[in-house]
Amino acid sequence: MKANYAIHHPWQTPGGVPVVLALVCFSDISYAQSREASMVLAAEKEARQHWSERTEALIGDIQSAEDFSYSHLSPRQVSSITCQYKYVGRMRPRSFPLDE
């Protein structure tokens, strides 16, 4: 059994619009042109890939965490009694001897 709040897809907004998770741009000619700038770009890509691979694992964890089953908790037990009232007629004042 799943609780309703656990069924939503993690990559959707409440309106149901898919979320763009990754937007990676590349260019065949970067704004800087030197060999050293290319080396920096390559090192940056390597770092980004390293980060991305670890993020994928993290996203998997988040997704599996979202996919949990709802554990029902029983309500706390309370005691109760049942009673029934029966009409037996109008009440009358009891009479007591005045010397008592």
């Binding site: 897809h9 979320v19 763009v20 000619i29 050293e36 700038a37 090192a43």
Partner: protein
């Protein structure tokens, strides 16, 4: 005050860049940008097409990946290949490769070519102004510590092995007085020769808001960005490094 002679006779600059990002006029197409070369054919005889690609991954109930490539501009190289300028739909970039002459030579050429680009692309708005310098510092081996030469380096706990076979460090620092930022990227790269360790120190100083619109103000800002870049560079190196550049 530093006793070292600046500009350094052997400055480690491998590339200097002046970069202006813009929104071009809607009636200008990418083909129009080729006109930037008109009259410059002898100075910049080589033309290359600049393409830009995009990879988009949309995760939903079904993952969808899209790639697209778009022609965004042209790149022009000088006869010796040392001067390169780009005219793109999103901006203008001027690069000078090593050997770097002087700012006083580099900047006027960038300004001249920007003037041509501006007349062709008719940008309605400037969105980013940047000065970027890529430096390669060749540290002779053996040496004890990167801190002998650099003042901005990764800090490794003394409890860990102190040898580094590689590192990549990227710092983004706000420059409040300039309403801008500096991106300092530092990484170990393939050594230029067997007896050195090469480190690239890449400094990109830029502003993206409260940008000026007049020519004089734009180039005054570029001068300010260049001064800020120099401060960042000087702040990142030691006197031992300065000796290497004399």
């Amino acid at each position: 005050m530093s006793s070292f002679k600046t500009p350094y006779p052997n400055a480690p600059i491998t590339e200097a860049v002046i970069d202006l990002r813009v929104e071009v006029s809607p009636e200008v197409s990418v083909v129009d940008l080729a006109k930037v070369q008109k009259g410059e054919e002898s100075s910049y005889p080589t033309v290359e097409i600049v393409n830009e690609g995009e990879f988009k991954l949309v995760l939903g109930p079904q993952a969808v990946a899209n790639t697209s490539t778009q022609h965004v501009g042209f790149l022009f190289r000088s006869g010796d290949g040392k001067h390169i300028h780009q005219a793109r739909m999103n901006g203008f970039t001027m690069s000078r490769l090593a050997p770097y002459p002087r700012w006083e030579d580099f900047c006027p050429e960038a300004r001249r070519l920007w003037g041509i680009y501006r007349s062709v692309a008719k940008p309605s708005k400037i969105t980013r102004v940047a000065v970027r310098y890529v430096n390669r510092i060749d540290i002779p081996v053996p040496f004890n510590d990167f801190e002998q030469y650099l003042r901005t380096v990764p800090v490794v706990s003394p409890d860990l092995p102190q040898g580094l076979s590689g590192y990549f460090m990227r710092l983004v620092m706000p420059l409040e007085d300039l309403f801008g930022s500096a991106i300092v990227t530092e990484t170990l790269v393939e050594p230029a020769s067997p007896n050195v360790v090469s480190i690239v120190l890449d400094i990109d100083v830029f502003r993206t808001y409260e940008l000026p619109s007049t020519e004089n103000e734009i180039w005054a800002l570029i001068e300010q960005l260049r001064d800020a870049k120099n401060k960042v560079f000087e702040g990142c190196i030691t006197d031992e490094a300065r000796k290497l550049f004399q």
